[in-house]
């Protein structure tokens, strides 16, 4: 959709505040053009807020985000998969087609591309079903297809496998790996350490709204620097 590269993204001392309380930040970080970043941390650490901040859905009360292109253009080349999939009161096919439809793509074209995507994520037979009858795993696949249909340069995923069983998780991870292989930048939150080990190229460990550690995956899992990260990887309870 957007031809110019929007990445890398530079985050400078960005802070998200709600009712005077700092939820996340100050965050300074860089998202390179290529890669799969896993955002890890315990419940309430600020993973969701951080991803929303990067996606431009949270008001930045201090600091800034710098994309390579102006903000509105950068937004059009991003997508977000939410922790609980948002089901529109439409058929699965029309749910996936919606991002195209709302931005003016003709119905037949949008539906055809939606059907292609449903096939890719293994939902070819579910197009005519209303979205709310899909199973948990199918819903997340639908949400992924809907996120990818505009061919974003970067996609944020917020614990997409939190409620999925083993097989559904593996299928979803396979789709992610394919997406990654096609050059889409991925930033995903999870607190499943196994999943982080399987997928991560680099890891951001976040705790109390701050990035405690940002490191290549191998280094992070071999020798976590902060005690909290070490405890988290070992499966201890981090407070």
């Amino acid at each position: 959709m957007v031809d110019a590269a929007i990445l890398p993204l530079t985050v400078t001392k960005a802070v998200v505040r709600r009712r005077g309380k700092v939820l996340v930040g100050p965050i300074s970080a860089e998202l390179e053009t290529d890669g799969l970043t896993i955002v890890m941390g315990p419940n309430g650490a600020g993973k969701t807020t951080l991803l929303r901040l990067l996606h431009g859905m949270e008001r930045v009360s201090k600091g800034q985000l710098t994309w390579q292109v102006p903000e509105p253009m950068a937004r059009a080349a991003q997508a977000f998969v939410f922790q609980t999939p948002i089901l529109m009161r439409r058929s699965t096919l029309d749910n996936v087609a919606y991002p195209l439809l709302v931005h003016g793509v003709a119905q037949t074209d949008a539906r055809a591309r939606s059907a292609d995507w449903l096939e890719r994520v293994g939902l070819a037979d579910s197009g005519s079903k209303p979205a709310h009858v899909l199973s948990g795993g199918e819903r997340q696949k639908m949400a992924l297809a809907r996120a990818l249909i505009r061919e974003p340069q970067i996609v944020f995923l917020d614990e997409p496998c939190a409620n999925l069983d083993g097989r559904a998780t593996r299928e979803f991870e396979d789709l992610l790996a394919e997406t990654r292989a096609e050059g889409t930048r991925i930033v995903m939150a999870t607190h499943d350490i196994g999943q982080a080990r399987r997928l991560a190229e680099d890891v951001w460990f976040i705790h109390h709204g701050l990035i405690h550690e940002a490191a290549p995956a191998e280094a992070f899992f071999a020798t976590p620097k902060s005690p909290e990260a070490r405890a988290f990887i070992q499966g201890d309870i981090v407070e």
């Binding site: 859905m57 089901l87 709302v102």
Partner: protein, 234 residues
């Protein structure tokens, strides 16, 4: 008990014989209320949706006012419309008092807050569900409202039907502004009121059953029409 059975029989008789007076006042009831519902929906549905999506300073106040207006006593609405439309009133020159138009005006005032309020609630819930997705997709306010109106169309239909239910059974306001004039402004509810006053319970009941039947029929027709849609499962 006897009177109810008698009323039912009488209702059957009136309907089967295609009683001219009955048909006339039934059609007038339908015409007045359907017109009022249509006008109220054109105002109330987008207003409700707009209130759900738009944040502004007096939003809470407007919503509270709307909810309060929903409980307007019809007799008082009738009285005010009467004063406004009476010869000495500001709109007296139009000569609308004791016409079906006056009845429609009164019903629009009664139904619009109801329809706007119900649709506001429905769209607010839908907006809460859709909010993050629509924001993430960088939609404009116009696109959001269009999406919400379309995906919420069943709830909006319910709002319109609730308005119809309230309107078709309403008697206080239309009695005052319409005057229950035979062959001019008599409708089912005012006729029932009149016949009850005269002690014709069987006839009054018969008209009552016709009224109920009419309300049920309109609901069924509209629901079955909307169910023939392909995605009609909500």
């Amino acid at each position: 008990m006897n009177e109810i059975v008698e009323g039912l029989l009488k209702a059957g008789q009136l309907i089967l014989s295609l009683d001219a007076d009955l048909i006339e006042i039934s059609l007038r009831s339908l015409r007045v209320t359907l017109t009022a519902v249509l006008i109220s929906s054109i105002i109330g549905l987008p207003l409700g949706c707009w209130l759900a999506v738009r944040r502004f300073r007096f939003r809470r106040f407007v919503i509270a006012t709307l909810n309060a207006l929903m409980g307007l006593p019809p007799v008082v609405v009738g009285l005010i419309v009467y004063i406004l439309l009476s010869r000495s009133g500001p709109f007296g020159v139009f000569g609308l008092l004791f016409t079906p138009t006056a009845m429609i005006i009164a019903q629009v005032i009664i139904l619009t807050p109801l329809i706007a309020s119900i649709s506001h609630q429905a769209i607010r819930d839908l907006w809460a569900e859709y909010h993050d997705l629509l924001i993430s997709l960088n939609t404009t306010r116009r696109q959001r409202i269009a999406t919400l109106l379309w995906d919420g169309r069943r709830a909006l239909l319910t709002a319109a039907l609730a308005g119809f239910g309230r309107g078709i059974g309403e008697v206080g306001a239309i009695m005052i502004v319409g005057g229950n004039i035979d062959h001019a402004t008599r409708v089912l509810t005012t006729a029932i009121s009149l016949e009850t006053g005269k002690g014709n319970f069987a006839l009054a009941l018969a008209l009552g059953f016709v009224l109920i039947g009419l309300a049920v029929a309109v609901n069924l027709i509209i629901h079955s029409l909307s169910r023939t849609e392909r995605s009609g499962r909500w």
